[in-house]
Symmetry: C2
Subunit: 369 residues, 2 copies
C-alpha cells in the first residue's frame, strides 16, 4: 500500500492582512512559531509519516513558486497548482489525479491522507498517533476516514461530527485506537446547539483532515457526485499524457463545492479517528492570543511596539515594517497590526472583519492587498 499525504494550501490571504497578502497567504507566515510557517510545520508533520517524495502540496497556481522557493524539503514538482479555484472538492480531485498520474499505482493501492496547512497542532506525538490510526483505518475499511477533535469548549466557529458506535477493530492492526462510525456532519452551530453537542458527548470538531484509499474516494464519489470521480480519472489520464490543456478544461468544468458537501455528507461509509491532541484553527489575528505568550497586562506583543496602559491587546509590528515605530496608548481588547503594506486597527471580537477591509481596499484598487 502506497501512503501519500496531500497538504491543502490554497488560502486566499485575507484574514491576516496586512501581514498576509494575495501573494503571501497565511500558510506562509510565521504566525504561531517564530521561525516556521504553518505550511512548513505541516510538511514536517507529513514527512515524519511518509517519504518526502510522497508529500504533495496542493495550492493556487500563483502560489506555486513562492511555496517552492520556501524550500520545505519536498521535491519542487510535488507543489501543484490548481488551474483555478474550485474549493476543497476540486482541490482533492486534482491532487488525487496528480498522484494517480505520477505514481502509476492502482487506486486500490494508494492511501491518501489529507492535512491542512492552516492549523496549529500543539501535541505532535498525539497527532502522529491519531494520523497513523486514521491511515490504518483507511487501509482496513472501505470507508472515508475523518479526524474529529475532542471539543474543549462550545465553539461556534467549527463544524461538528456526530458519531455512533465504535468501528470493529481492524484485522491485524495493533493500535487499538478508537475509531467511530460517523452518523452525520453538522455545520457551524449556533451557541445553543454547540452547548448541547458538548453536553451530550459523541460530537467532535471537524478537523478537515481525511484519509482514504483512492479507490474508496472514487467509489464514494460515484455514489454521491459522479462527475467528480469521473473528472478525477480524466484528469489523471490528461496529466499522465502531459495534456495540460485538457486537464485545465476538465478541472474548470467542475462546480465549486467543498469536500464536505460534495462527498463527506453523502458518503455511505465514513469513520472518524478521535484526536485528543490540542488543535487550533489559526483563523484570524485574535488567534495569536492562544499561541503566543502574554505580558502582565494580557497583551500579546510581536516586534517591539511601545504599549502604555494597554490591556488585553494584540499588537504586531511585523518584520519588514521595522522602519516603523508603533505606539499604542490607553486601549483595551484591540488588535493593532503594522506591516510594510498597511495598518489594521480592529477590536478583537471583530477580528474576522479584516476581510471587509481587504475587499474595500480591492475595490479602491489599492496595491497593498
Amino acid at each position: 500500500m502506497h501512503r501519500t499525504i496531500v497538504i491543502m494550501a490554497g488560502g486566499s490571504g485575507q484574514r491576516f492582512w496586512p501581514l498576509s497578502r494575495t501573494s503571501r497567504p497565511k500558510q506562509l507566515l510565521n504566525l504561531a512559531s517564530p521561525d516556521r510557517s504553518l505550511l512548513a510545520q505541516a510538511v514536517d508533520r507529513a514527512t515524519a509519516l511518509v517519504d518526502p517524495r510522497d508529500v504533495t502540496i496542493a495550492t493556487a497556481r500563483h502560489l506555486v513558486e513562492p511555496i517552492r522557493e520556501a524550500s520545505l524539503g519536498i521535491p519542487p514538482e510535488n507543489v501543484i497548482g490548481e488551474p483555478c479555484k474550485r474549493n476543497t472538492a476540486g482541490c482533492l480531485v486534482y491532487a488525487a489525479a496528480s498522484i494517480l498520474a505520477t505514481t502509476g499505482a492502482a487506486a486500490e493501492d494508494i492511501l491518501m491522507g489529507i492535512l491542512t496547512a492552516d492549523h496549529r497542532i500543539i501535541d505532535e506525538a498525539a497527532f502522529q498517533g491519531t494520523v497513523s490510526a486514521a491511515f490504518e483505518a483507511a487501509a482496513g475499511h472501505p470507508a472515508l476516514v475523518t479526524v474529529g477533535i475532542q471539543p474543549t469548549r462550545p465553539e461556534t466557529g467549527y463544524g461538528y461530527i456526530e458519531t455512533g458506535d465504535r468501528a470493529e477493530p481492524i484485522q491485524g492492526a495493533g493500535t487499538g485506537f478508537p475509531i467511530f462510525r460517523v452518523l452525520r456532519f453538522h455545520e457551524k452551530p449556533d451557541a445553543e446547539s454547540a452547548a448541547q453537542y458538548c453536553e451530550r458527548g459523541g460530537f467532535y470538531w471537524n478537523s478537515g483532515m481525511f484519509f482514504w484509499r483512492l479507490s474508496s474516494f472514487l467509489g464514494e464519489f460515484e455514489h454521491a457526485e459522479p462527475q467528480f470521480g469521473r473528472a478525477c480519472l480524466r484528469l489523471a489520464d490528461a496529466l499522465r499524457a502531459g495534456d495540460n490543456e485538457t486537464a485545465d478544461r476538465v478541472f474548470q468544468a467542475l462546480p465549486d463545492r467543498s469536500i464536505d458537501y460534495a462527498l463527506m455528507e453523502n458518503a455511505r461509509h465514513v469513520l472518524m479517528a478521535r484526536g485528543r491532541f490540542r488543535w487550533d484553527d489559526v483563523g484570524a489575528w485574535d488567534a495569536l492570543e492562544r499561541s503566543l505568550p502574554r505580558d502582565s497586562h494580557g497583551n500579546v506583543q510581536v516586534g517591539d511596539p511601545v504599549l502604555l496602559d494597554a490591556a488585553n491587546c494584540v499588537v504586531v509590528n511585523a518584520p519588514g515594517a521595522d522602519a516603523m515605530a508603533v505606539g499604542v496608548i490607553g486601549v483595551r481588547d484591540l488588535i493593532v497590526v503594522v506591516s510594510r503594506d498597511g495598518v489594521l486597527v480592529v477590536p478583537k471580537d471583530q477580528a474576522q472583519r479584516v476581510r471587509d477591509v481587504v475587499e474595500e481596499l480591492g475595490r479602491r484598487g489599492a496595491p497593498q492587498v
Copy 2:
C-alpha cells in the same frame, strides 16, 4: 519707529508624532491647512504687517536649515538658531539681540512684536486689527503689551490673563481699540477656576503674543530679572562683532525660564489688547477635529484610510506613508496616525500622551523620533 516681528518656532516635535519628529516639528507640518504649514501661515500674517526683511524666525539650530529650505518669503539670514534650549525668555533675548545687532537702531526706536507659530488663526482680519492695536499700544505706552483671547469655553489647557480698567487712549492713535491694564497672570487653571474666570468676565486666554519697544523690554527685565536684559545687550555686542563664541557662551549661561515667569508676571507695566478673533492652539492630534471637516460618522480622515463602523475618530494616513493601506474597524473616539516613521493609536481624550510614547521610543534608541 522700526516695526519688527519675531516668530517663535522652536517646538520639539513631540506632540504630533509620528508625523512630527525632532527634525520636522509641528510648525512645519500642514496640519490645519492642506497646503500651508503653521509656520508658513504665521509668516504670511507677519509680512502683511511689516516688511519681510523685518520678520525674524527664532528656532533651534538644527531647524534653521529645514526652515530656510521651506522658502517662506523672508531672507534666509532672518532664520536664527538659538545655541541651545533656553525656553521662551532665552529665545526672545536672543531674537532681540539679533535685531539690535542687525538693524543698528536704538532700543527706544525698535518695536518688537512676537507671534507664535503653533496656533491657527481663523479670522485673519480681526487678528490683523488686534495686532495693529497692540503695536500702537506698545509704541504709545512704556509697557509690555500682550494679546488676550476672549474665552469661548472654560478651557483648562490655557493660561489666563486677569484685566482691570481700560488704558487711557493713546495720543494720536485713531483705532479706539480696547486696551486693558493687566492685573495678573494665572497659570492653567483647574476646571472650577476656569468656570469662575469665564463667569466673572475680564479674564482672557493668554495667547503667547507680545508687543513692546525694545527699551521697555530691557527696562522691565532690569526690574524683574536683570541678568536677562544685560545678557541681551552683551549678546547684541557679540553678534554685531561677529563673535559667535562669546554669544554662545553668554546665551548658555542664561537659566531656562519662560517669558511669563521671567518677565511678564513681574513687570510693572503690562497691557492687553483684546483679541476677538477665533484662535486655536493646535496642541495635539485631537485638535484636527476643530480644523478639518468630519464625515457623516463624525470622523476626520486625512489620506485615504478605510473606515468601517468607526465613529468620532481621527484617522491620518500621512503623505509619504502612501505605500501603506490603513484599515480601521469598529472603534470610536480613537486617534490612528500612520506616517512613514510610525503608527500611533490612542484615545482622543489621551492625545497628550503621545509625548510618553516619544520619550519611551527615545529611551529605546528608536531612530523614528
